[in-house]
Symmetry: C2
Subunit: 200 residues, 2 copies
DNA sequence: AGGTGTGAAAATTTTCACAGCA
DNA sequence: TGCTGTGAAAATTTTCACACCT
């Protein structure tokens, strides 16, 4: 499997390719590097992990690179996802434009507050969190996005895992634990802000 | 300066310490490791970078470790911050509980839409983005949080830097560029979600 | 000329084993 | 005994130089 850092950078590259797809058909490692704040040889090394055929003096063909990357990162099909916790952050995510049409099918939202569920205006089906288990199974949801307060995050994660979710994106500041076969990625805003300050 | 990974982990540790401060006075490297999903020697190595005096057989004294970490990471004083872009995400961040009382002073919000500014109900002062430069200078804001759409992110970043901000937390999917002396940390939700899927 | 691919060197990060301390 | 601190080994990641392609 790809090294973690390489996979992370390739995801970024993939995102950039989607954005510049309309532009001219080729992009060089140097251009990508400057967009991402790395060096050209890092980009080449990362991409070389994909066993791509060489392209000569014009750089990478955007369409081809994009499709190879999509395959390598398993991004070529949409993933069925759900958001748990429809507070301010959760409902912002529910309608987050970038998820839409970007290979992520947000097919359900959950909240513990029944009143909130009735009030929410969105295209996406919303359920009480008590039905989490059942809906995840029925809809074959593969990815869970956690946006609940930190004191219920672990419980939600456990339920998601039990119901068959294979990946979790955790927006709560809680340090949740999942079995090693489940992929977990933390987006802890406070830690991130602390990191910024610590590097100043 | 601390290695990047170490600094990131120390920020996490600091966050955990804040959470468990009420509990018993000591915590071991093993306990921290299990909460963070690393190993005990990684924790010890990280902490040893801080030149702490040894504590013997009970582990680290939470209060003392917390204070040493606070100093090392420069988290012992509040940082004046602002949020640019008060869409769904931005306004969620504006009232994000965890920032409050956690060493971050969100002192201003900005949006380009005057109507939105008038509608927003918050304790924090909000301004049209045209006053960004001026307000950042007047209030000596040190950290900027970007939550605008990706097509205006670079412009906002440039203004923030010109106005004297030293660190930026970027929530937009744009790959923005800043001078090397300015700290930039990207929280790109779509990249994160892609990364989760790629590791499944 | 202007780009990629890659083996080898350098640098960094993680892991380990164990001395030392209360 | 139960934990930390740390030098040294191992593993990984980044950097570099340059062959090679069109």
């Amino acid at each position: 499997m790809l090294p973690t850092n390489t996979a992370e950078r390739l995801c970024k590259i993939y995102g950039i390719l989607q954005m510049i797809k309309k532009d001219s058909g080729y992009v060089s490692s140097k251009e990508l590097a400057s967009m991402m704040g790395t060096t050209d040889f890092t980009i080449r090394k990362d991409i070389s992990a994909l066993n791509l055929v060489s392209f000569g003096r014009r750089g990478y063909h955007i369409g081809e690179l994009s499709s190879v990357l999509g395959k390598a990162l398993q991004l070529s099909r949409p993933y069925r996802s759900c958001i748990v916790g429809l507070g301010r952050l959760g409902s912002a995510l529910l309608d987050y434009e970038s998820f839409r049409g970007d290979g992520f099918d947000i097919v359900a939202g959950f909240d513990s507050n029944i009143n909130k569920i009735e009030r929410i205006r969105t295209q996406i089906a919303v359920y009480p969190v008590s039905e989490l288990d059942q809906v995840v199974k029925n809809k074959s949801i593969e990815v869970g996005i956690i946006a609940v307060p930190h004191n219920s995050a672990q419980e939600v994660a456990t339920t998601l895992v039990k119901s068959g979710v294979k990946g979790i994106l955790n927006f709560s500041p809680a340090q949740i634990k999942v079995p090693s076969e489940v992929v977990l990625y933390n987006m802890d805003f406070t830690s991130a802000l602390r990191f910024v300050v610590s590097q100043i």
